[in-house]
Symmetry: C2
Subunit: 241 residues, 2 copies
């Protein structure tokens, strides 16, 4: 199967969780938003979003075209890709657990985004900076340790002790946890360094994923987009105080 990934160019964003799974599995895919030429780029994304004939329209990117299917919502795309890319256990219980963890990652990501956009996505950061300062204080004290502690526990409680979230093998959840840790270190370097000793398994997982041959090759390629100030992980020093 050849896949078409649709996601806004120039930010890693939520599309990156899908990209990492496709890259790790050496899947055949085109990153439509990032490609030049006819039928590619932002226009192609908007074309799908505005297509009034589409029976099952996506609400927003990312979405994946797989044959006749158009699948949206990051966790839903990974639910579909997981078994096809060998990145999730075969059992139904294993897949439900993977999906549960991915949805908790999605909740965490939403809160990370809203730290710099607590009022509206339509406003610039500078226009909601006072509220962002207030929200980020609560986020750093209450939510960051709660979510990181939860995922650290998940790794600790995996009886296989291989260092992965689920069972004995890497899953798309591990790839997403890698991206989460990388993004948090970009956005909140002080807070993350200060709490490093409390999350040894998450940091070890990050390094282990980064060293996987396909992921290492991807990270060194121009396909990997750097974190930046338009994405969901943003570094504003005042929010990391």
């Amino acid at each position: 199967m050849h896949y078409e990934l649709y996601y806004w160019p120039s930010i890693p964003g939520r599309g990156e969780f899908v990209r990492l799974a496709l890259e790790d599995a050496s899947a055949s895919y085109v990153d439509v938003g990032c490609e030049p030429g006819p039928g590619m780029g932002i226009r192609a994304i908007v074309g799908w979003l505005e297509d009034r004939q589409l029976g099952q329209p996506p609400f927003a990117p990312p979405f994946l075209k797989a044959g006749r299917l158009v699948i949206a919502q990051t966790a839903n795309i990974l639910l579909y890709l997981g078994p096809r890319l060998g990145l999730v256990p075969k059992s139904e219980s294993g897949r439900l657990w993977a999906n549960q963890l991915q949805l908790t990652i999605a909740d965490f990501v939403d809160e990370i985004h809203d730290m710099h956009h607590p009022i509206a996505g339509s406003l610039y950061y500078e226009d909601q900076k006072a509220e962002a300062l207030r929200r980020s204080g609560h986020f750093r004290k209450e939510r960051l340790p709660k979510f990181l502690g939860y995922f650290e526990n998940v790794l600790a409680r995996n009886a296989s002790a291989k260092g992965y979230a689920i069972g004995r093998a890497v899953s798309y959840v591990d790839l997403s946890l890698f991206q989460l840790m990388a993004g948090l270190h970009y956005a909140l370097p002080k807070s993350m360094s200060g709490a490093r000793a409390q999350h040894p398994r998450l940091h070890a997982l990050h390094d282990r994923i980064a060293a996987r041959p396909q992921i290492a090759a991807y990270l060194a390629s121009p396909r990997r987009q750097a974190f930046n100030q338009q994405g969901l992980f943003r570094h504003y020093p005042e929010l990391d105080a």
Copy 2:
């Protein structure tokens, strides 16, 4: 199968999306948080959350105990229950579409919640009222019409023209859309009444679901909890101005 639903008592909250599916299908279940007696109530919920032996811990309620499985995340619980309760199409593509819609409902619900809690879940509304006023203005003008317009479109584009979100039969997505419309009419009566003419299919779906025999019986029973000012749908007139 006998199910155990774990969710905070005294608010409908996210647990209600699961409850409606169980009720519509006349499933055998106990609503653990709401029951008196030993092994029930909040203590039972907290017991699971604090169980350090649990290999696959939930991050937060709702979670569902089904035999040996403990499944968390609302959309994930419905992904599991859907086929077992006959509340989702049999095909993989139909299940993915249902899950995609349910995740978009979850995103909408998060934004509805954050309208009254834009800074922190740990603070009272009164301590973040200024920010809530600002966020709610953007929510009402930008997000409410965008999400409602999207779901109205989904109903309009379903080729079966039976008035359901997916195919020719009711699914758990329809039950969740019912709850969404009921909650929004509670929280934002002015805004919702003002926009009623723009969402005829969503309103018709609400009424059709409410009239289903099992749902009507449930809504008339003491098991149905009223919306209130502790839940995710809250009515603050100043946020509906």
